[in-house]
Symmetry: C2
Subunit: 164 residues, 2 copies
Amino acid sequence: MEGNWLSPPERAAWVRLIGMLELLPAALDHQLRRDAGMTHFEYSVLAILSEVPEQTLRMTELAGFTNSTLPRLSNVVKRLVDRGLVERFAVPGDRRATNVRLTAAGHEKMVSSAPGHVDAVREYVFDALTPEQVDQLSEIAAGVLERLDPTGTRRPPIDPAPAS
Amino acid sequence: MEGNWLSPPERAAWVRLIGMLELLPAALDHQLRRDAGMTHFEYSVLAILSEVPEQTLRMTELAGFTNSTLPRLSNVVKRLVDRGLVERFAVPGDRRATNVRLTAAGHEKMVSSAPGHVDAVREYVFDALTPEQVDQLSEIAAGVLERLDPTGTRRPPIDPAPAS
DNA sequence: TAGAGTTAGTTCAAGCGACAACTTTCGCCG
DNA sequence: CGGCGAAAGTTGTCGCTTGAACTAACTCTA
C-alpha cells in the first residue's frame, strides 16, 4: 500500500523476468528428463552431493542447499535411493538425523549427464549474454536472493557440477 | 558436447540464478495465495485480460501471453469461471474457438489484489536493484527469452496490472 | 531424572501441471 | 462437395509438490 505502480522500465523488466521464470525452468527440466531421465531438482541433489566432502550431507543441509523443503527432499531422496543413485545411513551422534551419500552409480550418472546439461545451460543462457552481462546478472540475482533469503541459510550449491 | 565447463563468473551467476528461479516464484505464489486466495498463474490470467481491449482474449492467445499451454489454461479458466471471475463465450466466426472475458467481479478482484502484489514485487526485486540494474535485467531477460522462444509468439503480457 | 519444548525426518491427503488421447470444427484439394 | 489433414479446446490419467499431522529423538530445566 506504499508505492504506486512500477515505472515503465521496471514494468518492461518485470514482464521479461516473469517470462524467463516460467520458461527457463521448464526448458531445463525438459532437457534433463529427455537426456538423463531425471528432473532438474533430482539433478541438483546429485550435483551438490558430488561437490561436497565425502559426497555426504544431512537431509536438512541438503534441503537448504537445494532451496527446498524437507518433505519434498524426503520424497526425492526416496526415489533416488530406489534407483541406487544415493544411499541413506544414520548419523553417528544424533539418531534423529540422516545422512545422504552419493553412490558410485550416482557419481557415474553425474559424469554422464552433466556435460549435456551444461551445454543446455550455455545454449539457453550464457550464449545470449556478454561477459559484462554475466557479471551484471550475478549481482542482480545476489541482490534479489538477499531479499528472498536474508539469513543466507541456503548457500551457493552449484548446478552444472564438475562431477570430477 | 561442445564447450567445457562454465567459467568461474558464469558459475557464480548460474548458482544465484538457479536460487532465484526457485525462490522467487514460490515467494510470489505465497503472497498471492495468502492475500488474494489465488495462484500467481491465475493472477497473470486476470492481469492480462484486464489490460486488453474488451477484456477479452481467445484461449490460444491467452495461453501464449501467459507462457502456458492450452490444457493448463483450460483447467485454470474452468476454475476462474466457477469463481465468477471470468466468463467464456463463443467466437462469432469460428465455432472451434472460445473467448474468455473478465467479469465485473474479476475486475474487482484485480483492483483489490494488484496493489499488494505490486508491493511484493517491489520488495523482493526492485527495491534491491538500482535503475541501471533494472535496465540490465531487462536486457538480460530479453536475450534469454529470445533463446527460449525464438518465435516470439509469447508476447509481453504484463504482470502487475493497473487494473484501472 | 522426569517432563516440557524443540528438532529431524517421514507420511498422508489434496491440488496442480504435464502429456496424451479425443471431439469438434475448419480449410483445402481434387 | 466429399474427404483428409490441421487447428481449438476439453478431458482423463499420472506424477510431483505442498501443507498438515505424526513419530522419534534430543536438550534444557527444575
